[in-house]
Amino acid sequence: MATAPQLTATASGDVLELRPAGSWTAANVATLEPLASAVTAQLDRSKTLRLDMAGVRELDTLGAWLLEKMSRRAISAGHRADVVGIADDYAGLIDEVRQVNRHNPAPAPAPNAVVVNVGEIGRSAIGATDDVAAFLQMLGSLFLTIFGVLRRPRSLRLTSLFYQLHRVGWQAIPIVVLITFLIGAIIAQQGIFHFRKFGADSYVVDMVGILVLRELGVLIVAIMVAGRSGSAYTAELGSMKMREEIDALSTMGLDPVEVLILPRVIALVCALPILTFIGSMAALYGGGLVAWFYGGMGPAIFIARLHDAVSVTSFEVGMINAPFMALVIGIVACSEGLRVKGSAESLGKRTTTSVVKSIFLVIVLDGLFAIFFASIGM
């Protein structure tokens, strides 16, 4: 049904006669574009253009536009252009195409590269203060809501709280156990391998115990929770924002912070210490297994050495960290979620920002706590 498009050009004196034929449709654009550009030189030379469209079998907007461009080029150079032989079927289309692309807006002037870069720096500086403001605002409204809940305990959404606890706590246990178990095992293996060189392999128990309980246990669990639950919070709240569900809540006189955010943050604050405890135990278990099978240190000796090596303080230091990290993750995730705008791209961007920022803040917080506990002698 479709025939290959052709363009026959016959020049006689000052008159150029163009006879397009075949299917001038979008499907053939790969052939059409070179055909059309091949005649531009001839087009500029001749005084009169005669465009005979009798041979055109099929025509669509693209083909009509290419032909229109030829006659427009001739006219704008002050030449004559006659278009003849238009089939009735296509007259309307050709009339329509004559109207388009008449007044192209002048392209915006290219901005100065230096100005753009400086502007970018300024914008990200302002963006950073916005981030701090958003964080503080969320922290503040969270505490206001908590005071409200303390005055009226019935306004705490218990169902939602337990559902979120189930999601971020209970359902996270398998992956947390698996990862921390492996981390504990790896630390023990590396410790034994390197300590053995100077006969200190029994000190691997001290290293695994202190490292896991004080720092690594809580840090790894917090990073995993930020990636697993923080991202989910941002995406959920973001898509609720996009679909105006949060606006709907507000119009019903409900506070989105109380209904949506408080249960989520409380769930995280409750779940993270529990997960940290479980994760630390799994890591010690992994370290113990490696010490037994790879280092030849039986469980009884491992436990006895562990008893000497770690104090309750190490454990406390790790556990005190956990709720604060949960608070940071929750606040970052929820405030990023509320900052989602209309597009799908913005949702993705906010989710990424939420995870990256919470992991960064968790590590910074861990460092600050480490300095703090060291200076008070814990």
Partner: protein
């Protein structure tokens, strides 16, 4: 010289579509003639959108045959279906514009994916389409989130028309528009249908557009087409649902015009 073209743009025979045990489309047959504007009416949740989505291959069917421009439609991933996909354009109810692309990029997307052409020509075609749907070339640099409801529909229509398809499917094109914008959109559909020689398959609840734009109207009830024909035939239909639809309180305003 026109080619020998098929008489029907879409032929649906004995189509059955259901989800689990719930049958939505029950042995439905429908022919859409080439170059006509067919309006499809039916109860909310009665399967209008399901029928449209089945024809374009988004929903699998249980039995029956669908032919679009003389080629059978099997399923969305089928190669034949994808070839036909270049011959139809779809205007989704919410526009379904790609939110991360500008208006111009949205219109260029089908061109860029399906054809080999220069960027300059692509820009010109996109601007041409924009102007054909009644927007200004400057609107091309906006993002979908910056558009009003009427503009979104127009841009979505421009994207649906990017490849100059033979058939356009419109899912409630005037829903959510004010009467003036809806009227303008009706006129636009009619004009474009004439200039581009389109076949239009339109799912709508808008009685005014049914009355002014559609050449024929099909009524879908109980999973079947219970009445089909020009608007005045449907107004005289005896089917209880069709009577209730066109002679209900909200439809009374139509009566003087239609008689």
């Amino acid at each position: 010289m026109p080619e020998v073209t098929p008489q029907f743009a879409i032929r649906v025979k004995e189509l059955v579509v259901g989800f689990g045990t719930h049958v939505v489309i029950d042995h439905l047959s429908l022919d859409v003639r080439r170059g006509e504007i067919l309006g499809l009416v039916g109860a909310s949740g009665g399967g209008k959108s399901v029928l449209m989505r089945t024809i374009i291959g988004l929903i699998p069917r249980q039995s029956g045959e669908i032919e679009v421009m003389d080629s059978a439609i099997d399923g969305s991933r089928d190669r034949v279906t994808r070839n036909v996909a270049g011959r139809w354009g779809i205007l989704f109810q919410q526009g379904a514009l790609f939110s991360s692309l500008t208006v111009r990029q949205n219109i260029q997307f089908p061109l860029r994916e399906n054809l080999v052409l220069s960027d300059a020509l692509m820009d010109e075609i996109a601007t041409a389409k924009l102007e054909m749907v009644g927007l200004k070339p400057e609107d091309g640099d906006k993002f979908p989130s910056e558009l009003s409801g009427g503009m979104t529909k127009r841009v979505a229509l421009a994207r649906a028309l990017a490849l100059d398809p033979a058939i356009v499917f419109l899912d409630e094109p005037t829903s959510g528009l004010d009467p003036i914008a809806a009227g303008d959109f009706d006129v636009l559909i009619k004009t474009l249908q004439k200039t581009l020689g389109l076949t239009v398959f339109m799912v709508t609840h808008d009685l005014a557009s049914l009355n002014t734009v559609c050449d024929r109207v099909a009524a879908l009830a109980d999973g079947k087409i219970v009445a089909i024909g020009p608007m005045r035939d449907l107004l005289q239909s005896e089917h209880p649902w069709v009577r209730a639809y066109f002679h209900g309180k909200r439809s009374l305003m139509l009566q003087p015009k239609a008689s």
